[in-house]
């Protein structure tokens, strides 16, 4: 086993541990912290795939912004008081959820393992930032502009939705 594989298995184990924590933890703040663990471990996976730019973006946007936003929403909606209310964090449909997720996992793992992937490269080539940026701003300029419009609309929409009642 090469040292790359050792690192991969370690980071993958961290990712799965974090994901398990997100869906199974009984304390919602622990859920959010497990989510941070999973997201940072996924950034490690991106580095193993030599996608450094995405790893950096992942740490900045997910590790920073998204988790903070989720923690704020938790505090504002008082999800913490849920377990004392009836039923706890999970609904009665848990066994069916586990069944559906397990069935999907079995199918997709089977498909991934049994397929012969064509044109597999021997060596991962590092993607230079420069080429990625050129491709993004030349070949994908229109989607890029649309993405910025989407962000603007989401920004305005979030402000209007969360604003208060005084306008009504």
């Amino acid at each position: 086993m090469s040292y790359e594989e050792v690192i991969f298995y370690f980071v993958a184990a961290l990712t799965v541990l974090g994901a398990l924590g997100v869906v199974l933890a009984r304390n919602v703040v622990h859920c959010a912290l497990f989510l941070v663990l999973a997201l940072l471990a996924v950034a490690g996976i991106f580095i193993l795939l030599s996608a450094e730019f995405l790893a950096i973006v992942q740490v900045l946007i997910y590790g920073g912004a998204v988790t903070i936003l989720i923690l704020f929403a938790m505090m504002l909606t008082r999800v913490r008081d849920l377990p004392s209310a009836a039923g706890g964090l999970d609904g009665p449909q848990r066994p069916f959820a586990a069944l559906a997720a397990g069935a999907f996992m079995g199918l997709s793992i089977l498909a991934a393992v049994s397929t012969e992937w064509p044109g597999e490269t021997e060596e991962i080539t590092l993607v230079p930032f420069r080429d990625l940026g050129e491709s993004l701003f030349r070949n994908w300029a229109a989607p890029f502009e649309i993405a910025s419009l989407v962000l603007l609309v989401a920004l305005i929409g979030a402000i209007i939705l969360a604003r208060g009642e005084e306008g009504e």
């Binding site: 997100v22 989720i70 989407v150």
Partner: protein, 102 residues
């Protein structure tokens, strides 16, 4: 060199855990966190395919960038909606928000 199957199996596990969370959790905020896990699985798949199967083009990497962009917008909007629901109904449980018309 790590075989591509490893990454695909990892992303399958991550996506399934996300499915379980979306189906089993009751709070809208926790469901959103599970959706984030599923988006991460999709990003891993995109990047793995881009790096292993077509290293000359960056289509998968660009798609992963757009996935992250849309996920950021989605989280912002969805949490605003959750806040709004909480303000109106004093709960963020999706089970309790089942009235289509009041």
């Amino acid at each position: 060199m790590i075989p591509i199957q490893n990454f695909l199996v990892l992303s399958s596990i991550l996506f399934s855990l996300g499915i379980y969370g979306v189906l089993a959790r009751r709070s809208a905020v926790l469901i959103l966190m599970s959706v984030e896990l599923m988006l991460q699985a999709v990003s891993i798949n995109f990047i793995a395919f881009a790096v292993y199967l077509s290293p000359e083009q960056f289509t998968g990497l660009i798609f992963a960038i757009f996935v992250i962009t849309v996920a950021a917008a989605e989280v912002g909007l969805a949490l605003a909606i959750v806040l709004r629901i909480y303000r109106n109904k004093a709960t963020a449980n999706v089970d309790d928000v089942d009235t289509l018309k009041w």
